[in-house]
């Protein structure tokens, strides 16, 4: 699947991976996925609770549970919220293969857009997000 993010950003991601490949090495020569220059298949998710946005986040879409193909981390969050709320509804936008840093920027941009539209910070992002 090709996405808008896979054009120039993918090239940047590949370049960043090459240039920064010696830093933050983890395990068998692969950069740790938390390293800003690490490249992976990222997406931005939005979790809606009873129709209201609860949280934006980034997810590694290569880390899915093998049998169902569902993103593991997202399912964990949905499970936790489902204990409290009736209707928990996650949405994912596929960003393609980009760096962790680019995924963080996309997550922040989504949050900033949401804040500028609503003047609210989603409950699940209140500890980590400070608007511009």
């Amino acid at each position: 699947m090709r996405t808008a993010a896979q054009g120039g950003e993918a090239a940047d991601a590949a370049r960043a991976a090459t240039q920064g490949g010696e830093a933050a090495v983890h395990g068998a020569g692969q950069p740790h996925k938390n390293a800003n220059h690490a490249v992976s298949h990222f997406g931005i998710y939005e979790i809606k609770v009873n129709g209201e946005t609860y949280k934006f986040g980034k997810a590694d879409l290569d880390r899915v549970t093998q049998s169902s193909g569902l993103p593991t981390r997202l399912h964990q969050q949905v499970r936790r919220l489902s204990k409290t709320y009736d209707d928990v509804r996650p949405e994912i936008v596929d960003l393609g293969y980009i760096t962790t840093q680019q995924a963080k920027q996309a997550e922040r941009a989504a949050l900033q857009r949401y804040y500028e539209t609503t003047r609210r910070i989603p409950p699940g992002n209140q500890k980590s997000f400070r608007p511009d």
């Binding site: 699947m1 129709g51 549970t65 093998q66 049998s67 169902s68 193909g69 569902l70 997202l74 399912h75 949905v78 499970r79 489902s82 009736d86 209707d87 928990v88 509804r89 996650p90 949405e91 994912i92 936008v93 596929d94």
Partner: protein, 125 residues
């Protein structure tokens, strides 16, 4: 308990809001009859995700993911992107659920009955 969640993965599910409660209530009303599951895993939950994913053209059921820690079986019901209306949506959802519960000894007649009960809850029958 049966949980039912929509996951929109690059594609929209315009039918979830109006149907999810009726689907969940119907499934939970029938859950005590899923003996094939309850005899083996009496303290486990079943969790269905209705997955709307870009590029999917045919109904496909994936899973289960089994969590001993959380005592749950998780299935993904991958729906085709093109769905004409809420009737077709329910047909597809219950076709997927039917594939899963067939393994629990639930027959096609009971699945058809669940679908009709769900439609009745929604005022669609």
């Amino acid at each position: 308990m049966v949980r039912f969640t929509s996951l929109e993965w690059g594609a929209k599910n315009p039918y979830h809001s109006e149907t999810h409660r009726a689907i969940r209530e119907t499934l939970n009303a029938h859950f005590p009859t899923w003996k094939g599951f309850l005899k083996r895993k009496p303290d486990y939950d079943v969790w269905f995700y209705a997955v709307s994913k870009q590029g999917v053209t045919n109904l496909e059921v994936k899973g289960p993911d089994i969590s001993r820690r959380h005592k749950e079986y998780v299935y993904g019901i991958y729906l085709p992107e093109a769905i004409a209306d809420v009737h077709e949506y329910l047909d597809l959802v219950f076709a997927g659920i039917g594939q899963v519960v067939a393994e629990f000894g639930v027959g096609a007649e009971e699945v058809a009955q669940m679908k009709e009960e769900c439609k009745a809850r929604l005022g669609l029958s």
